[in-house]
């Protein structure tokens, strides 16, 4: 390996390419992990069979197929597409298949250890950047890129420049500032940098050894909203014990960054993204006049146990406001099980929540909570584009689970410190 200091993404790509690779280089690399889900696997199969003439993929053991986007099937068309996916998975000999109810693809990839620090993983989903939570280069691709990777075992990459985010302080918690969280940091970065603030770049987070795995998954996944190719948190600190981190992967003093951003977490407040763009971000406290019809706690961004727990903490012994629908969808079966065992779910149910099958839920507006014209959703998801959750005249506000729970209580957008 080159003695010149490298960013994390340069280290990972160099290691995979077998030679030093620098920001701006175009390289071909082996793909260690491929993830596809129910929504796009049929198109991957079409591309493999019709465009590439490939009937057997290169290495079924590197592939995970997960049914999460419309799970369980909502229509005859989706049911038939899932039948086709299951047949293909069997024919290809793919053993890592996770069917309806297992959970959201990105959660499964990390929870089941299907991706490891230092690896390159492609997913047919833009939030595959989430794998940076454990120090892997995860990135989203389209179906033909996936087909090429499955056929060849390789992909091409432009080595990205890196934007370094240095964290100071901690997320404020406690009575006066309940639940400032990783989501607020992600929204803060979106507001600061804009939807193309890190296009073609990697985002590297420093100063966050104390960040939990749940927080890291939120941060890394949300970097795609900045246009980033990857979002990496060094796999050190409180998560390091559970991970097999290769000895060549570490933050190197003197690595070259395109830009450095310092963020003072102590100054962070609960934030909300205003529709229809993720980078239109204001303080939750400033939106008290916005009434909400549906509050959704879930998704690959904020459907983890700690997210449900903070919502339960706020909702314990209280009732969701009249006229508000509170949907809770755990990100995986394992999380659903844990939230059942520790009483979190019972607390949420007593407050008036309803619970859906682990999966993407209404984030993409296909089932389980599609929004109607004129309705307002407050969602812990990652996108609020027009039409994303259903009718184009529905409005989607994005926030943390704490803001979501507080708003479900009051019926309007609420800073959690106020309830």
């Amino acid at each position: 390996m080159s003695p010149e200091p490298m960013t994390l993404v340069e280290q990972i790509i160099s290691h995979a390419a077998g030679q030093p690779a620098r920001a701006g280089d175009l390289v071909i690399v082996p793909v260690h992990r491929c993830m596809t889900h129910d929504s796009l696997t049929p198109e991957v199969i079409d591309a493999l069979e019709n465009d590439l003439g490939v009937t057997q993929i290169q290495d079924p053991d590197r592939v995970a197929v997960i049914v999460d986007h419309v799970a369980p099937a909502s229509s005859v068309a989706t049911a038939n597409a899932q039948v086709r996916v299951r047949r293909w998975v069997r024919a290809q000999g793919i053993s890592r298949f996770y069917d309806v109810g297992a959970g959201i693809c990105h959660q499964i990839m990390v929870e089941e250890g299907l991706v490891q620090p230092g690896e390159i993983a492609l997913g047919t989903d833009s939030h595959a950047t989430a794998y940076g939570a454990i120090g892997a280069l995860g990135t989203g691709v389209g179906t033909r890129d996936m087909a090429l990777a499955l056929a060849s075992g390789h992909t091409w990459l432009r080595v990205p420049e890196t934007l370094r985010v240095r964290l100071q302080g901690r997320f404020r918690r406690g009575a006066d500032a309940l639940g400032v969280s990783a989501k607020d940091l992600s929204l803060h970065l979106c507001g600061l940098l804009g939807l193309d603030g890190a296009t073609y770049q990697a985002v590297e987070f420093h100063g966050g050894d104390w960040l939990t795995l749940d927080e890291r998954l939120t941060l890394a996944g949300m970097t795609t909203e900045l246009g980033a190719k990857a979002g990496l948190i060094p796999p050190t600190g409180v998560v390091a014990d559970g991970l097999a981190v290769p000895d060549w992967l570490a933050v190197q003093e003197g690595a070259s960054y395109a830009r450095t951003l310092d963020v003072d977490l102590d100054a962070l407040r609960p934030l909300v993204a205003i529709p229809p763009e993720v980078d239109h971000v204001v303080a939750a406290a400033d939106l008290a006049d916005v009434a909400v019809d549906q509050v959704f706690i879930g998704t690959c961004t904020n459907g983890r146990l700690s997210d449900l727990q903070i919502a339960a903490e706020i909702l314990a012994g209280r009732q969701v406001a009249q006229g508000v629908r509170l949907l809770v969808i755990p990100a995986s079966h394992r999380i659903l099980q844990q939230a059942t065992d520790d009483g979190t779910l019972a607390t949420l149910l007593r407050a008036g929540a309803t619970v859906g099958t682990p999966g993407c839920g209404p984030c993409i507006g296909r089932h389980l909570g599609v929004m109607g014209a004129g309705e307002v959703a407050l969602s812990t998801a990652n996108r609020n584009f027009r039409g994303r959750m259903g009718d184009p005249d529905a409005r989607i506000y994005l926030a943390s689970p704490a803001v979501a729970a507080a708003s479900a209580l009051t019926g309007h957008i609420t800073d959690p410190s106020e309830v």
Partner: protein, 166 residues
């Protein structure tokens, strides 16, 4: 003659094809009917083969859905000109062989302009005026000529790059 369809900044893939109109939810054969079905309903019924999109920065941001550029191809869009593209959209278009030129013509061309596009020369002609587009990298031009990365890979059994070639 081709028509210019003018769009603004940050055109996301949920606008290009809402998730509810994915082939998974509808059918592959109908894909060409769906581009901008809600954001700009007059687009799909009127777009003609060979028309071009001229847009602002960060075109195609959001979801990885390849059916967004595929729907534009199915509707007949021959090329897109924008100052920048979201990275997954860029790759998807390259894989499909849909030429993306990097230039900001949003103040130079107007919606509805009649133009002639020459992809090989990288020119757009409007009346007496010829606009020279910045040429793509040589390897990208090779991919366009092959009909996209998938077609290139099938023809050559390899990606059009040197470093790391297995």
């Amino acid at each position: 003659m081709a028509r210019v369809w003018l769009f603004g900044d940050n055109i996301d893939t949920d606008q290009i094809v809402p998730g509810r109109y994915a082939p998974y939810m509808t059918s592959e054969a109908e894909l060409g009917k769906y581009p901008f079905i809600e954001a700009r309903p007059e687009f799909a019924p009127a777009v003609q083969p060979g028309d071009i999109i001229v847009a602002g920065s960060n075109f195609g941001c959001g979801s990885s859905r390849e059916y967004a550029p595929r729907a534009l191809v199915a509707a007949g869009i021959a090329a897109i000109v924008a100052p920048s593209y979201a990275r997954i959209f860029f790759r998807n278009a390259l894989n499909l062989g849909l030429p993306l030129f990097e230039a900001d013509l949003t103040h130079r061309l107007q919606d509805g302009d009649a133009v002639t596009l020459d992809v090989e020369r990288g020119t757009i002609v409007r009346g007496a005026e010829t606009i020279q587009l910045p040429p793509p990298p040589a390897w990208v031009a090779r991919v366009w000529r092959a009909g996209g990365m998938v077609a290139y890979y099938r023809q050559h059994g390899a990606f059009p790059l040197e470093v790391g070639q297995p």
